[in-house]
């Protein structure tokens, strides 16, 4: 089935959860990512149970520091 991940049409296996998608998309540090599903921010505790459906829109939002000083 097809979903949209960060604006890109992506073909995934049926029945994939958010946690599994993070693995499939090679997100190395899932702790560094907030996930928005169809316009709503998901709780981290929901990643394992949330099963993706056809046409879902997923955004991986990364923690980014940067800016001044030592960083």
């Amino acid at each position: 089935m097809n979903i949209v991940v960060n604006g890109q049409e992506t073909n995934i296996t049926d029945g994939l959860t958010i946690s599994e998608l993070l693995v499939e998309e090679n997100v190395k540090m899932p702790q560094m990512v907030s996930v928005e599903l169809n316009g709503q921010i998901l709780k981290r505790s929901e990643f394992d149970q949330t099963v993706l459906k056809d046409d879902d829109k997923v955004e991986f939002l990364y923690f980014m520091g940067g800016g001044n000083g030592a960083d």
Binding site: M32, E36, E59, L61, F63, G65, G66, G67, A70
Partner: protein, 271 residues
């Protein structure tokens, strides 16, 4: 306050803009912007806001200029290495525009000092490099009801969002709480393209000016992401989070507190 002849000339390119005009320029001259972090993001923001004639600029930073800063922190120059960043930034702002008053805060923001520092400013630019500070600025701006611009950069990627506290999606709506310390890649470990800071910091300055003038559409409830390698800008609409611990339906954060400080140790190359 009427513009002088010199100011008419200096700000002429603004004044001929229909959305700015003489009245808008006077508004900028009467405005106060606080920049937290005189680094990669804060440097271009400070330079452009000073050039634009923002009347008061506050700069908060407790660090000194390091040689490794100069690759991207364009407000600091080679002879400034070793100087306090706020002193270095202040001298450049004064040289760019004598109309701009500069207030310096040679310290890091903390739960104890941040509200007092930001109070009275019209807009805050978060140009900090660490997550506890980013959350602290988000929370302090919420309690003081001051609009602000969040931004972050890493390697070739940048992001920013403008927050009107209590009205639009906040930083905690999206990210909740700082990530665990060992999960944080920093620019010193992962690198950052210097000009990326210029792109994103300049966008923050743009949002500040729009907010001060009340023109255009602010980047609210929308995270703008940018990748320098693909030159792709994306606007990701993000609704307010009803579970947000700060501005959600059942807020759990009712006063400021310092999040666990995750400070990168450059010398030992670890966080």
């Amino acid at each position: 306050m009427a513009l002088t002849e010199q100011q008419m000339e200096r700000y002429g390119r603004h004044i001929i803009l229909e959305q700015v005009g003489g009245a808008g320029q006077e508004k900028l001259l009467a405005s106060k912007v606080l920049i937290v972090g005189a680094g990669g993001l804060g440097a271009p923001a400070a330079v452009y806001l000073a050039a634009a004639g923002v009347g008061t600029i506050g700069i908060v930073d407790g660090d000194k200029v390091d040689l490794s800063n100069l690759q991207r922190q364009i407000i600091h120059h080679t002879p400034d290495v070793g100087k306090d960043k706020v002193v270095s930034a202040q001298s450049k702002i004064r040289a760019i525009n004598p109309d701009t008053k500069v207030f310096t805060y040679n310290k890091r923001v903390s739960a104890q000092n941040v509200r007092e520092i930001i109070r009275g400013y019209d807009f805050v630019i978060d140009g900090t490099d660490n997550f506890p500070a980013k959350f602290l600025i988000n929370d302090a701006c919420y309690f003081e009801k001051i609009p602000f611009s969040h931004a972050g950069i890493l390697q070739f990627d940048g992001q920013l969002i403008t927050v009107l506290p209590g009205r639009t999606t906040c930083y905690r709506c999206i990210f909740g709480a700082p990530p665990p310390a060992n999960a944080v890649p920093s620019c010193s470990q992962a690198g950052v393209l210097g000009v990326l800071a210029g792109v994103i910091g300049s966008l923050q300055a743009t949002e500040a000016i729009k907010s001060l003038l009340g023109i255009g559409e602010l980047l609210t409830s929308t995270l703008l992401t940018y990748n320098a390698l693909t030159m792709e800008f994306r606007k990701v609409p993000l609704g307010r989070n009803p579970d947000c611990p700060l501005c959600g339906q059942n807020p759990r954060i009712t006063e400021l507190k310092d999040e666990e400080q995750i400070v990168c140790d450059l010398k030992n190359g670890k966080c």
